[in-house]
């Protein structure tokens, strides 16, 4: 069974440009979350989508947006890129939204999209 897949794996953009990152969750997973990981830091939550609706948003500017499609895949868009947007962007999927008593509703991460802004 395929894991979480992300594309592209690497990309280089210049300041002011726009970027779209794509994520396919594990089959059967309805929730997708996006995280930004700057070099030397832990991942930071950007968005969560569940059943095509935004269910959570982290402390990121409006330049960041996302959506989830009927097949539960997702896109993350970043407009007006800044140098500080350079990071590894991680997508993670899970079965459901909330906590399961068994602790089984955990996140599975993809390998990420490495964005470099010059």
């Amino acid at each position: 069974d395929a894991g979480v897949t992300q594309s592209p794996t690497h990309l280089i953009k210049t300041r002011g440009q726009q970027v779209t990152l794509r994520c396919s969750p594990i089959s059967g997973h309805k929730s997708v979350s996006w995280y930004q990981q700057v070099l030397g830091q832990g991942p930071q939550f950007i968005f969560q989508y569940y059943e095509k609706e935004e269910r959570g948003r982290g402390n990121f500017p409006d330049r960041f947006s996302a959506r989830q499609f009927p097949n539960y895949s997702s896109e993350l868009n970043v407009n007006a890129l800044l140098l500080g947007d350079s990071a590894l962007y991680l997508c993670a999927s899970s079965l459901a939204l909330g906590v399961l008593s068994s602790g089984a509703n955990v996140l599975t991460f993809g390998a990420g999209s490495r964005l470099t802004v010059l």
Binding site: S33, F45, Q48, L88, A96, V106, L107, R114
Partner: protein, 113 residues
Amino acid sequence: TQLLEQSPQFLSIQEGENLTVYCNSSSVFSSLQWYRQEPGEGPVLLVTVVTGGEVKKLKRLTFQFGDARKDSSLHITAAQPGDTGLYLCAGAIYGGSQGNLIFGKGTKLSVKP
């Protein structure tokens, strides 16, 4: 702002030594997860702890969730070079969504042969 303080940030030890990594917060977590991340890859889940006081073992790794569900530790016995990597703790805020995890900054472990 919920913070998850992870320590130490860097750890360089010899093969065979034991080590402990700590995660502490003033917030209560509904669950806490430990991940290991290799350079250029996404975090890979090691364990999830849900119940206060819970202890889980994964071969030479022992994970503990604090009684108050505000802290956790990872203990590695007889570390091996293959244990080298970035270890991340991440907590789901009580009453929140599992998709919104608060991550620590990570502990970069280097085990030398």
